[in-house]
């Protein structure tokens, strides 16, 4: 079996290598990829879309329909996590430690979480004592990470960045909070239901902007038609449409990141994670 697998892999690799002989040279400016469509994007994108970042122009406008479904793929991943991992039963019991007294309480099956109080902390075999340095550093760091995430989303039109990157950075700040404190701290700040809504909202912003473009009679996602709703220079409307879409992507990616983390880390129980 291993031999057969090796044979198939070498065959495929060999075929791919065989074909590389026929590919244009690396970085060849006269290759088809460099001469067929790219010149149009490079010459016309700024004029047509008013966005200086070519990558964003192609991604969010020329091929914006693809990107909408890329966002939907991320959304699907989040939904699949909810569908498969979320545990609605609360079967397993858990241990909580009352910090001032040091008493450990055992919550049996089908019990709700302990009262929201900073005096309780979860106990399991990975339990570690309160860590002053880590918690303080993370507490200081997290707001800046989030600020940076917003910058990355907002600056997607002008510099490298955009909704996907910004969303991931924002999501990771919340995951850092969950790791350095605990999951309950995060779930107290963002309820599961809010996270679920945010996942939907992100994709809905993208799709909604697309549908909005259809109301004045344009095609789906044709941002130039948004000029009817936005009192700005018509040449700049496409750029604003892209910004709106990027914000949607950012929200969706952020929320899905947290949903996936929360469900995997707590085995779908949403009480305590790593």
């Amino acid at each position: 079996m291993k031999f057969a697998a090796f044979l198939i892999v070498s065959l495929c690799g060999g075929l791919l290598l065989y074909a590389t002989a026929d590919l244009p040279a690396w970085g060849d400016p006269n290759s088809p990829a460099g001469t067929h469509l790219s010149p149009h994007y490079i010459e016309k994108a700024l004029e047509e879309t008013d966005v200086p970042n070519l990558v964003t122009a192609v991604l969010a406008d020329y091929r914006g329909y693809d990107t909408m479904f890329e966002t939907a793929v991320v959304f699907c991943a989040g939904l699949a996590c909810l569908l498969l991992l979320r545990d609605y039963t609360r079967k397993k019991g858990s241990f909580y430690r009352h910090i001032p007294t040091g008493v450990v309480i055992h919550f049996k099956e089908n019990r709700k979480n302990p009262p929201k109080s900073r005096e309780f902390e979860h106990m399991d075999k990975e339990w570690v004592p309160y860590d002053l340095i880590m918690k303080t550093v993370c507490r200081i760091l997290i707001p800046f990470i989030q600020l940076y995430a917003l910058y990355v989303v907002a600056h997607g039109d002008f510099s490298p960045g955009g909704g996907f990157q910004g969303g991931v950075i924002f999501g990771s700040s919340l995951i850092l909070l969950a790791i350095s404190y605990n999951l309950r701290t995060v779930m107290d700040r963002i309820k599961e239901r809010v996270l679920g809504f945010l996942c939907v909202l992100g994709v809905l912003v993208y799709t909604g902007i697309g549908v909005l473009c259809m109301i004045p009679g344009g095609n789906f996602l044709d941002y130039s038609k948004l000029a009817v709703f936005l009192p700005v220079d018509p040449g700049h409307v496409r750029a604003l449409g892209m910004l709106g879409v990027e914000i949607g992507v950012g929200i969706a990616v952020m929320a899905v990141m947290v949903v996936i983390y929360v469900n995997i880390a707590s085995e779908g129980r949403h009480d305590e994670g790593l």
């Binding site: 590389t20 469509l37 699907c76 809905l204």
Partner: protein, 496 residues
């Protein structure tokens, strides 16, 4: 023709939007999700119908996403073939939604909203794959379809569903990667992703080895996804252990849509000249599909469970369609395209009937089916019709596409393929008459008191499940009776 209507976009956007609403409502009021999903699919079906009418009246419809002209932006390019498949996909998913409502309430009430959202996204993916005229966009939507089908399959049988889904994930990802590598090579050699644009560049590149590899990789990718023997190993378990509301739509549609993708790549992108004159592999593929037909049939014979038997029948049917498309003549291609539609409807009918049986009997192993004709006469009538269609008994639709395939095989001189088709019909006859026998005659023969018992009680499935089965069964015969019209109005004009 550039279209001014919104219907081409609406076919895909309506299910996507309603999927989002379902997911949102699942946190507030779960009961709204079902009507919302139904409305979305109704709009999609109506739009697909309007698009078909438009294509029939005025020829190929082009819809520019974001308003950009084709090679620069993404376009929907809907001709007669797409329009037909779109309507089949949208209608079947709508009927299944209605038929599965009771199932969803019974088996997964706590997560029904999320399930509907995933279901709608799956349908969105299928419709998008069919409607698009862009090679990369096709991949993105394929990704959506695959991801959602993995999730749905993993929700099935708690012991074996997740494992079957995991196997499917591994193999499905490999298949998608093959397709993506192929598209990558096409892009490097042509610089374009638009199907029609690529097709206009490719004739100059017929001797390119990169294009040859791209073609092979694209084909292997779609073959893995459609489960052409011997790449089918993921399919039987995945379709057997999936929850019925999901498997009833995944099983008939996913593989058929992949056959559509193969035909689209052959006809529109690479072109028949390249495939049949430049390359000399058509005969080998027809042999492969012959093997698929026979292997699927033989393995189906070994099963003791309707769902698994149906899964192997699908493996066999894939052989029909691939073989027909690769025969290299118009009749074979006609049969293949007609069979996409007919097979989607008849496997759907089979799964609907199996679902009704499973709803009442718990599971559909053969030994549970004793007396099923007496207990569930309507369901079994639908089952018999679906069985007849799969065997190929006129006037059900399965007969007509098989007829075209046989004629195509004879014209191409591929007698092994013709023989496989006929043997497969015989195997299907054995398969189904064995079940009919169990349903009619067993049960009374052992243990029961013949003279005195009044026979088993009627225990028919709920009306909301019987009506969809009834409608589908009517279509089995209707599509058969009107297959001449479909061929003359839709398939022949498309093939030119």
């Amino acid at each position: 023709m550039m279209t001014n209507t919104v219907y081409p976009a609406l076919v895909v956007i309506a299910p996507l939007l309603t999927a989002l609403f379902c997911s949102g409502f699942s946190w507030v009021e779960k009961r709204i999700c079902y009507p919302v999903a139904g409305a979305g699919l109704l709009v999609a079906t109506y739009s697909a119908f309007r698009v078909l009418l438009e294509v029939l009246a005025e020829g190929t419809v082009q819809y520019r996403m974001a308003g950009w002209a084709p090679p620069f932006g993404i376009e929907f390019r809907i001709d007669l073939l797409n329009a037909l498949v779109l309507l089949v996909v949208a209608a079947i998913s709508l009927v299944n939604l209605v038929a599965s409502h009771r199932f969803v309430i019974r088996d997964m009430d706590d997560r029904s909203g999320t399930f509907y959202a995933i279901y709608l996204l799956f349908v969105t993916g299928l419709l998008g794959v069919v409607a698009t005229g862009d090679l990369f966009n096709l991949y993105v939507l394929l990704e959506i379809t695959s991801l959602t089908s993995y999730a749905q399959i993993a929700m099935g049988d708690p012991d074996r569903g997740p494992l079957a889904s995991l196997n499917y994930v591994f193999i499905g990802v490999i298949g998608a990667s093959f397709y993506l590598l192929g598209v990558g090579y096409i892009y490097i050699k042509t610089g374009s992703l638009n199907m029609v644009d690529v097709a206009s560049i490719l004739p100059a590149l017929q001797d390119s080895s990169a294009i040859l590899i791209a073609f092979i990789f694209c084909m292997i990718g779609v073959w893995i996804k459609m489960a052409l023997f011997p790449l089918h190993i993921w399919l039987p378990n995945a379709y057997t252990y999936a929850p019925l509301p999901a498997s009833r739509v995944i099983a008939p549609l996913m593989t058929k849509v992949m056959v559509y993708v193969m035909i689209r790549l052959m006809l529109t992108v690479f072109g028949l000249d390249y495939i049949f004159e430049k390359l000399d592999i058509a005969k080998a593929v027809v042999w492969l599909s012959t093997a698929a037909i026979l292997a699927g049939g033989v393995m189906a014979l070994a099963q003791r469970d309707i769902k698994k038997m149906a899964a192997y029948i699908i493996v066999s049917e894939i052989g029909y369609m691939v073989g027909g498309a690769w025969l290299g003549n118009k009749i074979g291609m006609t049969g293949s395209i007609l069979h996409i539609m007919n097979d989607a409807v008849m496997t759907f009918a089979l799964f609907l009937a199996a679902g009704n049986l499973a709803f009442k009997l718990g599971d559909v192993r053969f030994k549970n089916l004793e007396n099923s004709f007496a207990k569930m006469p309507w369901t079994m009538t639908g089952f018999v019709l679906a069985g007849f269609s799969i065997i190929g008994v006129p006037p059900t639709c399965g007969f007509f596409s098989k007829w075209y395939l046989v004629l195509g095989g004879i014209e191409a001189g591929a007698y092994h393929f013709v023989a496989a088709l006929i043997i497969s019909s015989l195997i299907c006859a054995v398969l189904f008459f064995r079940i009919f026998e169990i349903g009619f005659f067993s049960g009374e023969s052992h243990g029961r008191d013949h003279g005195h018992s009044a026979g088993p009680e009627m225990a028919e499935a709920p009306v909301s499940m019987l009506i969809p089965l009834g409608i589908t069964s009517i279509f089995l015969i209707g599509l058969g009776l009107y297959s001449g019209v479909i061929v003359n109005r839709i398939i022949h004009p498309f093939l030119g």
